[in-house]
């Protein structure tokens, strides 16, 4: 610090500015540090290792959510410490690491680099990697995915979530219906006797949801069936309840359920029911909601996998599976479908790495069934497509092009500089 600066201690603004500048520079230094990059990549390596181990126990969905879409995770190493305890290591989640990496990349690779032609390739490559990270962020927050399962000859215009539920209130409206939904994530407090009230200002009733279970089976109460769960008696005197089941790591194997009580605003009459979110697709798309009457209108409540309407209708024309010779292990399987979009029809063959893309929807061939065992042979089969709606679907491809272009420019510049310097070195003796 200069003598002049030290002679003006009475000017707090100047001191603050200098101090702030120093702090800012230190922050930028840390954020742009190559060491930070290395540390973050190492941390991500450890996280990937931990997540891979955890996937066997927790399943793909939970591992992805808890390890890679979180800021913080407790890694249970399952190393016994005695007394039934295991070694648990707190670790930074994938979301936080990638966020930090993005900042590190932007500050260190883009902001701190001089924007000169000499650094053009490096800047471009960093920009491409940043775009890749942004694509991941957009996908995580603004995309959704589900599935469509169809037998040959069957068609649908909806896709269903693999594992997320929604409570749908339906009102019969002529041959169709009017529906309102609330996602199951909003009902998470309805555990045990705790209730969540769902309503809307224009509804003549409210709905109390309770005893939410992530995995359960409906049961009928009988003399030999004991339960601590509430038993709901229907009009003919039969009692029904939900029996809790172990939550499976493969989340799509779980079937959620809950109890609902409809309370009319006028008269306070109550209608109670047990709801079970069993998805019967592709065997049947028909839903059978709990039905009740209020003010002469027919209403229904349905706990179902989240449904999305497709912007077109899809029919499975043919499904084909080929096995490895002498085995019953499928070598590949593919589907021929017809897309009905208004008056237009389009035939598409969907197979590995060749999805159907239409109106922001991407259909990947992902599975087939029924698969009672690994030795299932013969038709009829149904085909399963994973359907993804992702605004950043193509961004990774563009990001790869940008990174490729950046590295190409960078290495060409390096090559040209190397060739020029070699030429100069070779030319020096002649000049002297």
């Amino acid at each position: 610090m200069s003598a002049e600066a030290s002679s003006t201690p009475k000017n707090p603004t100047a001191l603050d500015s200098a101090g702030h500048a120093g702090v800012l520079r230190r922050v930028i230094d840390v954020c742009s540090s190559m060491r930070l990059t290395v540390v973050l990549l190492l941390m991500f390596g450890v996280l990937t290792f931990a997540g891979t181990l955890a996937q066997g126990k927790l399943g793909l969905f939970v591992t992805q959510r808890d390890y890679f879409e979180s800021f913080f995770v407790i890694w249970d190493t399952e190393v016994p410490l005695g007394g039934g305890l295991t070694l648990k290591i707190p670790w930074v989640g994938g979301y936080a690491i990638l966020l930090a990496l993005f900042v590190n990349l932007v500050v260190g690779g883009v902001v701190r680099h001089r924007w000169t032609w000499r650094n053009g390739g490096i800047l471009l490559a960093h920009l491409g990697i940043a775009l890749l990270l942004v694509a991941g962020f957009v996908k995580l927050n603004y995309s959704y995915a589900g599935h469509v399962a169809l037998f040959e000859g069957k068609a649908t215009s909806t896709m269903a979530s693999f594992h997320d539920y929604e409570l749908a209130l339906l009102r019969q409206d002529g041959d169709g219906l009017v529906e309102r939904v609330v996602p199951a994530t909003r009902l998470s407090a309805a555990r045990g006797a705790n209730t969540v009230t769902v309503t809307a200002p224009d509804l003549p009733f409210s709905i109390e949801v309770s005893n939410w279970l992530d995995n359960c089976r409906p049961r009928q109460k009988g003399p030999m069936v004991q339960t601590s769960m509430p038993v709901v008696t229907d009009a003919d005197g039969s009692g029904f309840f939900l029996q809790e089941a172990k939550v499976e790591p493969e989340r799509e194997r779980n079937t959620a359920g809950c109890y609902v009580k409809v309370i009319e605003r006028i008269g306070r009459q109550e209608h109670q029911a047990v709801l079970h979110g069993l998805d019967t697709r592709p065997f049947s798309e028909d839903r059978q909601p709990f039905t009740f009457q209020v003010d002469g209108a027919t209403w229904g409540l349905d706990l179902r996998r989240v449904l999305w309407d497709l912007p077109f209708r899809l029919r499975l024309d043919k499904f084909q599976k080929a096995d490895h010779p002498g085995t019953m292990t499928p070598r590949d399987f593919s589907s021929w479908v017809t897309v009905f979009d208004g008056d237009a029809e389009r035939k598409v063959h969907i197979y590995m790495n060749h999805p159907l893309r239409s109106k922001e929807h991407v259909f990947f061939q992902t599975n087939w069934g029924p698969q009672p065992g690994s030795d299932m042979t013969g038709p009829p089969w149904y085909s399963v497509f994973e359907v993804s709606v992702n605004p950043s679907d193509d961004w990774p491809k563009y990001a790869s092009y940008v990174v490729f272009a950046g590295l190409l420019v960078h290495f060409l510049q390096k090559l040209i500089r190397h060739l020029r310097s070699s030429t100069r070195r070779n030319a020096l003796p002649e000049l002297t």
């Binding site: 169709g176 009017v178 909003r186 705790n194 003919d236 039969s238 839903r287 009672p372 013969g378």
Partner: protein, 375 residues
């Protein structure tokens, strides 16, 4: 941000974080066509939840005009409507006394020991359940049965008593149970035993809702031929509790078993129901092809297939088949798809020579997937 600002903001954030979100709104209404949301309204709860009738294939017929349980109502008692959905196939009480109830439950699964455990321990808190042979013998609906007499606190009401006569057929227990204040129950003991002796199945009566037969009206299509030898009912004409899409090549087999069919040289398939635990039952079927009981690993590895709207368990085993009814098939393969719901096992069983079963496996699984309760 200034310190006072933080002082205000932090408590708000804290309260917002602690508050339970116990009231939520539905999203906006949106219309959907029937194609988009195929919906069947007003289904009974059991069908809506995809549950089988717990009373099984041999359940008490509930429709008018079919046999039902009846008995000689004792003097001073009154008969009430049956409630088969609550396992009350016939109901009485001491006239005008709402504290008493006497009902018949026919063919409840679980076996004698489990039911006795339920009556003694769960309902009356009696831990020492006597041996069934120690109970007095009584007559119940023409069967030799046993009598249980208990008193104490029942259904959280002290001073109660129960008289319970029962007999067992295999795993199925039929019981007549009389509950009420101890003094009333003891005072009606002879009437209860008299009612137990008189229980019987009533013959089928006319359906009061059926229209009268008109002159010249043709016989229904499945009516036996007139003035001809009475043919045994076929599986196609017998009232079956289930229906399914039967694969081509299967031949309906006359008999009482639902959806009983044959295929190939010696293959057969049928659908039925029984009580009991799933794993022991599967082990019994394994025993039919000479296999020992399953290990835990084998049990956990059993694949699941769709049936009746649920996840059914598939048993696929091979060996020399010796059924309990005496049927034998060398080099057989046995497929059983089982669904346990509410203590009842609904199963579809296919057995035959291994090579023929291999060809029938996929059609059989499709058959199971299409299985549904008959309306």
């Amino acid at each position: 941000m200034t310190i006072p600002g933080l002082r205000i903001l932090l408590p708000i954030l804290f309260l917002a974080g602690c508050g339970a979100d116990n009231a939520v709104d539905f999203g906006p209404p949106r219309s959907a066509t029937r194609d988009q949301r195929p919906t069947t309204w007003n289904r009974p709860t059991r069908e809506r939840l995809g549950l089988p009738d717990m009373r099984g294939a041999s359940a008490e017929p509930k429709q008018a005009g079919q046999p039902r349980w009846t008995g000689d109502t004792p003097v001073g008692w009154e008969e009430l409507p049956a409630q088969p959905q609550r396992f009350r196939d016939a109901v009485w009480r001491v006239a005008g006394n709402e504290e008493t109830e006497c009902y018949l439950s026919a063919g409840v699964g679980g076996g004698v020991s489990m039911n006795m455990g339920r009556w003694y321990t769960q309902q009356f808190g009696v831990q020492d359940v006597p041996a069934v042979e120690a109970l007095p013998v009584v007559e119940l609906a023409g069967h030799p049965g046993r009598l249980v007499e208990l008193s104490g606190t029942y259904m959280q009401k002290p001073g109660q008593a129960v008289l319970l006569a029962f007999f067992a057929e295999g795993d199925q227990v039929t019981s007549l149970k009389f509950t009420g204040p101890e003094a009333v129950v003891q005072g009606n003991r002879d009437k209860f035993l008299q009612l137990a002796r008189s229980l019987r199945r009533a013959s089928a009566g006319p359906n009061p809702e059926a229209p009268p037969i008109q002159p010249g009206q043709p016989m229904p299509p499945n009516h036996p031929g007139m003035n001809t030898e009475h043919a045994a009912p076929t599986s196609a004409s017998a009232p079956a509790p289930f229906a399914a899409d039967v694969p081509a090549g299967w031949t309906a087999k006359p008999g009482s078993r639902p959806l009983h069919h044959t295929f190939g040289t010696d293959g057969e398939v049928y659908v039925s129901q029984l009580g009991g635990g799933l794993r022991p039952t599967l082990d019994i079927w394994r025993g039919e092809v000479g296999l020992a009981a399953m290990s835990d690993a084998e049990w956990n590895a059993l694949p699941k297939v769709p049936m009746l709207g649920g996840e059914a368990t598939l048993l696929d085993v091979s060996g020399d088949f010796h059924s309990m009814s005496g049927k034998q098939i060398a080099g057989a393969r046995l497929l059983v798809v089982t669904l346990l719901e509410g203590g009842t096992i609904t199963f579809a069983k296919l057995v035959g020579p291994a090579a023929e079963v291999e060809a029938q496996r996929a059609p059989f699984l499709k058959f199971c997937a299409s299985l549904r309760r008959a309306p």
